[in-house]
């Protein structure tokens, strides 16, 4: 029975509709780990308006969120909370690593004693957005890449 439901879900039309619904209501968690949050706030402003791409305002609880946007440096103290927040989010969920610090430690990769060198040790990352900090246009490209990825996903 489960196999039949799985097959039904992944018929091309049903799969398309479900994934289309997901990409048009991506709800990020409001987790500001470091300074990239300034550019994320600029992205949410009127010049860029991310709601055109189904990117909702970062309000609401973790139980409603499906995208975790890591905004910059993750320190050893913050890493535990990042994992805790990721575990509390319902499936399906995706992670975007924003900024050089979230990808590899960035400016602090070599010499800092408290910075996690890449968030992919803590949570599985779907899209990496390079920059220090990335411009809002770069963030848009990351969001569009995540949309493409979601559209091609298999429904479990």
């Amino acid at each position: 029975m489960k196999y039949v439901i799985y097959k039904l879900k992944n018929l091309s039309l049903i799969k398309y509709i479900i994934n289309w619904g997901r990409i048009c209501s991506m709800w990020p968690v409001h987790l500001t780990t470091a300074c990239c949050s300034v550019e994320f706030a600029a992205l949410s402003g009127p010049r860029y308006d991310p709601e055109r791409f189904g990117w909702l305002a970062a309000v609401g609880s973790l139980r409603q969120s499906d995208v975790l946007l890591i905004e910059g440096t993750v320190t050893a103290k913050m890493a535990q909370r990042v994992r805790l927040i990721y575990d509390q989010m319902p499936e399906p969920k995706w992670v975007i690593a924003m900024g050089a610090c979230a990808i590899s430690g960035g400016l602090y990769a070599k010499d800092s004693y408290n910075v996690i060198q890449g968030i992919d040790d803590i949570v599985p990352v779907d899209v990496y957005i390079p920059g220090c900090p990335p411009r809002p246009e770069t963030l848009f490209q990351g969001i569009l890449m995540l949309r493409d990825k979601i559209m091609n996903e298999v429904i479990r």
Binding site: C35, V38, A41, G45, I85, D111, S112, Y113, P133
Partner: protein, 405 residues
């Protein structure tokens, strides 16, 4: 103006207490955690828990050269990159015994004031959001983009420009503004003010363009006042909340708009003038309301003063070189120790640097304004309602990254 009402709060000394954590994921606190103890909905104790963004900036300074320290020193106060790098550059210059060229002094002042306005707009916008006023966020961030464009025009980056270097600035300001930027500004001018730009064409000359943006922003600031700061709901949410009396402000050692909101006239640009500030006339806004509303109003009037400063600096700026001739990476700094401070957006930022004559600092100590304002937080968030916490928190203009360093 609405009539001010005195609010009384009944404090229940007895009864079961509840301790919970606010942050680091709470939208009202950003990357910062407060451990709150409540009785009913009255907060009886608040323990700040900073350190979520502690990246070891001071230790990092010992591994990098004098010039390569500048990019990572901007990151703690990313909204106000100029504010945190300014005292560092001043300190290194004092150690080296050099003086930047005249034009560089004015360019630094323009950059510092642009960043101050950007930082205050961010502050005002988020304060609006947490007071339940989403329009203020949209207005502030819409206008902020054009000031960020100016920063990008001068420094080449939106917010982290690494523009200040010991002995001047990295590059000169352009003489002409790109046509796309001018067209975009003209469109925005027509959209926001409901009329075309006077004369029809926005000037493409750098000086005239900066003056045009400043005039436009000054007009917009006048529109902010009835929208948010004179709104009865905002006044009721902020008046009499988070009262920090003059004596307490001085004894707690707060700085910047928080100190000036408590009626103390203290500003590093006036007390210990540096660079081009002695040649510029401006006032220091001081409010003696001592509450969250006064602190917000100080920020608002500071933006108006910053616009004046930028206008004067652009008009007085002489021609000439912008940097001393020196090695781009390994500058020579003699042994010694120095202390320098400058007025960042959130208050006085100070650097203590000790050099042993090598190509790297021996010790750097940063005293950031947010770190000094943090001391007021447990004092203010006491005997208030839970709903007042975001208001008090944002009225202090606290930026956790800058505090944690």
């Amino acid at each position: 103006m609405v009539k001010e009402e005195v609010r009384s709060l009944e404090i229940y000394e007895t009864g079961p207490t509840l301790t919970f954590s606010m942050g680091p994921q709470h939208p009202g606190t950003g990357h910062f955690r407060m451990i709150i103890t409540v009785v009913g909905d009255i907060v009886v104790r608040c323990d700040p828990d900073p350190g979520f963004v502690h990246r070891g900036e001071e230790k990092l300074c010992e591994y990098k050269t004098w010039i390569t320290n500048i990019p990572h020193l901007e990151r703690p106060a990313i909204l106000d990159s100029a504010g945190l790098v300014y005292p560092y550059v001043l300190a290194v210059e004092r150690l080296m015994g050099v003086e930047p060229p005249e034009r560089a002094k004015y360019l630094r002042v323009i950059m510092a004031e642009l960043q101050r306005i950007c930082s205050h707009l961010y502050w005002l916008g988020l304060m609006g959001v947490f007071a339940g006023h989403a329009t203020m966020y949209m207005w502030c961030f819409g206008d902020r983009e054009y000031l960020v464009d100016l920063t990008q025009l001068i420094g080449g980056q939106r917010i982290t420009h690494s523009y200040f270097v010991p002995g001047g600035v990295r590059n000169d300001a352009p003489s002409k503004v790109p046509t796309e930027l001018v067209k975009d500004f003209r469109r925005y001018y027509r959209m926001m003010l409901g009329k075309d730009y006077p004369g029809g064409e926005v000037p493409e000359d750098f000086r005239k363009y900066v003056l045009a943006v400043c005039d436009f922003f000054d007009t917009r600031l006048d529109e902010y006042y009835p929208m948010l700061l004179d709104s009865p709901i905002f006044i009721y949410r902020t008046k009499g909340v988070g009262v920090l009396k003059r004596e307490d402000a001085i004894s707690l050692g707060v700085v910047g708009p928080v100190l000036r909101g408590s009626g103390v006239k203290s500003d590093t640009r006036i007390d210990e003038p540096y660079d081009a500030y002695p040649y510029i006339k401006f006032n220091v806004p001081v409010m003696d309301g001592c509450d969250s509303y006064s602190r917000m109003m100080v920020g608002y009037y500071e933006m108006k003063e910053s616009v004046k400063i930028i206008k004067q600096a652009v008009e007085q700026m002489p021609e000439g070189p912008v940097k001393l001739k020196q090695h781009p990476i390994t500058i020579k700094v003699p042994a010694g120790e120095v202390f320098a401070s400058a007025e960042a957006a959130r208050g006085q930022c100070s650097f203590y640097i000790r050099s042993d004559g090598t190509d790297r600092p021996y010790r750097v100590k940063i005293c950031s304004p947010s770190f000094r304002n943090l001391t007021a937080m447990p004092y203010l968030i006491r005997d208030v309602r839970i709903a007042d916490i975001p208001i008090i928190y944002w009225s202090l203009n606290y930026w956790p990254v800058e505090c944690d360093r």
